[in-house]
């Protein structure tokens, strides 16, 4: 006795992609956006776009880099909208406390973490994107360049400046 409805083949393939990439994309969006809730919204939007594109695309696509590009573009759109909202309305006062600290993270004092996050927020958008992809996602320079539409030289330059500024803040702390 079979199932009454069978999911189309693209459904299972999209599900595989979701399981494989959703943690990575969620972390990427959290790093590029200010609010975790907004990052989750963007991650969901990205997978909705994946489903829409997957159904109509016949050719072979490297969906991993595609998801990264779409997520970065969606984050940029959100940041532009956030700037507009900030201009039009005062920000609400919210406090977000991470309730699941890891042992490594526990080794960092809250002050140090705040300083690093503060320095990270002060990086330019491009520097943040490059640093996240190259350092945290451990993508190759060539992959980052393709994802962001930059030359490899530009990627190295942005990465060096980002690391320089972050380390400078760390040096000020110590």
């Amino acid at each position: 006795m079979g199932a009454l409805t069978t999911a189309p083949p693209w459904h299972a393939q999209c599900e595989v992609l979701y399981r494989e990439h959703s943690p990575r994309l969620l972390r990427l969006c959290r790093l590029l956006l200010r609010h975790p809730q907004e990052a989750e919204d963007v991650a969901h939007e990205v997978f909705l776009k994946l489903v829409q594109s997957y159904r109509v695309t016949d050719r072979a696509v490297a969906w991993g880099p595609w998801l990264t590009r779409v997520a970065i573009n969606a984050c940029r759109d959100r940041q532009r909208a956030a700037r507009w909202r900030l201009w039009h309305g005062a920000p609400e006062e919210v406090e977000l406390v991470d309730s699941n600290p890891t042992p490594e993270a526990d080794a960092l004092t809250g002050e140090t973490r705040e300083q690093i996050w503060g320095a990270f927020r002060q990086l330019s958008q491009r520097q943040r994107e490059v640093f996240v992809l190259r350092h945290l996602e451990e993508r190759s320079t060539q992959d980052v360049a393709e994802a962001l539409g930059l030359s490899t030289g530009s990627v190295k330059r942005h990465l060096f400046r980002a690391v320089q500024r972050l380390r400078k803040r760390l040096g000020e702390r110590s």
């Binding site: 609400e92 919210v94 991470d98 705040e114 996050w117 996240v132 350092h135 320079t141 060096f160």
Partner: protein, 178 residues
């Protein structure tokens, strides 16, 4: 000759993109090796810090400092006030004081018409008329006389007015048609 590596080269080595010469230098130079280890430690620390959310992310208004929107509204209002002040100042400078002309009364109009009507018929006959100073028709003693048309060639007083005022604003005039 000892040439230490730049920070940029150390970063490339960290990400596995350094040249063989840089790697060889790192093995021999303790200063660069120390700097490299420090770089690796810093990057690890940064990575750990960014792996999780900030301990407490608080987005709040800066106390005491006006918000952007308030500053914008204040700037627009100030600009409006300045603009209005400049407009008033310019308007006052360029204002032209125009005196209202006295409206000619009915009597003046009738007097003028009388003068014209007395002067016009004689022009076609070649007669010469001398118009005396025009009186005010409102004067109750005014008498309008028309004298002989048979005295051709002679200046004929078309009409006279007793007690014509000297300060007539219309001013008397004489006209001779030859």
């Amino acid at each position: 000759m000892k040439r230490c590596l730049r920070d940029r080269s150390l970063l490339l080595v960290h990400y596995g993109e350094g040249r063989a010469a840089h790697l060889a230098h790192l093995e021999t130079c303790s200063d660069c090796a120390t700097r490299y280890r420090q770089l690796a430690r810093d990057l690890e620390l940064i990575g750990h810090a960014l792996e999780r959310r900030p301990a407490a992310l608080t987005v709040r208004r800066r106390s005491g400092a006006p918000s952007r929107r308030r500053v914008a509204v204040a700037a627009v209002l100030a600009a409006g006030v300045v603009l209005a002040g400049v407009e008033v100042w310019l308007w006052r400078d360029t204002q032209v004081l125009v005196r209202e002309q006295p409206k000619p009364d009915e009597a003046s109009t009738l007097r003028f018409l009388a003068e014209v009507s007395a002067a016009l018929p004689s022009s076609s006959d070649g007669e010469t008329f001398v118009l005396s100073p025009a009186p005010r028709l409102t004067d109750p003693e005014m008498v309008l006389e028309e004298e002989g048309e048979d005295s051709l060639g002679e200046p004929v007083e078309a009409w006279t007015l007793d007690d014509a005022s000297e300060d007539d604003t219309w001013g008397g005039f004489e006209n001779e048609n030859t």
